[in-house]
Amino acid sequence: MHEYSITESMLSLALEKAGEAKAGKITRINLIMGELSGIVDDSVRFYFDFLSKDTIAAGACLCFEKPATRLRCRDCETVFTPGNHDWACPDCHSAGIEIIAGRECYMESIEVT
């Protein structure tokens, strides 16, 4: 159900922007959804199909870019990809980390005709 509300918001944002541009049809929606955002693409596509029916976004191609999780050590500033059960810095072993990528959930652009 998480994806349902995400898809609803995403569609209404796309329709609003396409409306402002007086577009006749939305052909593609480019989304950036990080690994940590917990969003399942297939589920978004599923909801999109029926939510977009009878709108100018019907049939649009959904393109997902999924940035991987990246962490930065607060002590030595090393940037790294965490292991499954180990978020400590691989260089200085500090547990102090900051999530710098992976939580993205935004619309980069739409393509319209």
């Binding site: 918001s9 922007k17 999530i99 739409i110």
Partner: protein, 224 residues
């Protein structure tokens, strides 16, 4: 026909965030501190609220918004404790959103409230992405869930102002490394306050009550 690219670069949940800011403004106008309580199902959200109401109620005017997928069991328990409560049933939805909170605020005595608890739907994934207009986020994690939860749900732990580690009365039965848990959570979120507690025995709850009381005091200062 020529394809035109429109650059957007906007958060997909921007509309929710805008509504959340509206809710917060309304809460601020009434001098209310709003606390969003999140956890997995069964970690102890309602038990914590009942303990907290019992302790603070004479001095602090409390209201509660209860979010559940279905049923009003929790709202009934809160209602018996004698505070204003609104139940939101999300009908399958796994989180509360700002719009639901806006509607619930219409049914609460805002002018007679100091502290609003919003008990979110039990879930460690999406509630963190939906701002409600709250001033503080409290996450309850409990010993039976295991000490690896911060790695599995990092966003939840990274955004919390307070983490209550509940059910510490079960410590001797479970293989939960409290020190390692605290170190991991502090690593992800250096400003977080972690309180090990038991809503069953009451152990550790004094620190939580003190935190709430001082946060309420700070809120009153900024309202005046």
């Amino acid at each position: 026909m020529a394809v035109k690219v429109i650059t957007i670069g906007e958060d997909i949940l921007g509309a929710n965030e805008q509504k959340a800011r509206g809710n917060q403004k309304r809460l601020d106008q009434n001098g209310i501190l709003a606390v969003n309580i999140m956890s997995s199902p069964g970690a102890g959200k309602t038990s914590l609220l009942l303990r907290t109401i019992d302790r603070l109620k004479p001095e602090v005017r409390i209201a509660v918004i209860e979010g559940d997928v279905a049923s009003s069991i929790d709202a009934e328990r809160i209602n018996e404790a004698g505070v204003a409560v609104v139940q939101i049933n999300t009908a399958g939805g796994c989180h509360l959103d700002a719009n639901m909170i806006g509607n619930a605020l219409n049914n609460l005595p805002l002018e007679n409230t100091d502290l609003l608890f919003i008990e979110n739907v039990g879930n460690l994934i999406c509630p963190v992405e939906f701002a409600l207009g709250e001033h503080r986020r409290v996450l309850i994690s409990s010993l039976p869930e295991g000490d690896d939860k911060p790695y599995k749900y990092p966003a939840m732990f990274a955004d919390a102002d307070v983490v209550l580690l509940n059910k510490i009365d079960l410590k001797s039965y479970l293989n939960f490394n409290i020190d390692a848990f605290q170190k991991t959570v502090n690593g992800m979120n250096p400003d977080v306050k972690i309180f090990p507690v038991s809503c069953q025995t009451g152990e550790g709850l004094e620190s939580w009550f003190s935190w709430l009381e001082s946060t309420l005091k700070d809120k009153k200062k900024t309202t005046k």
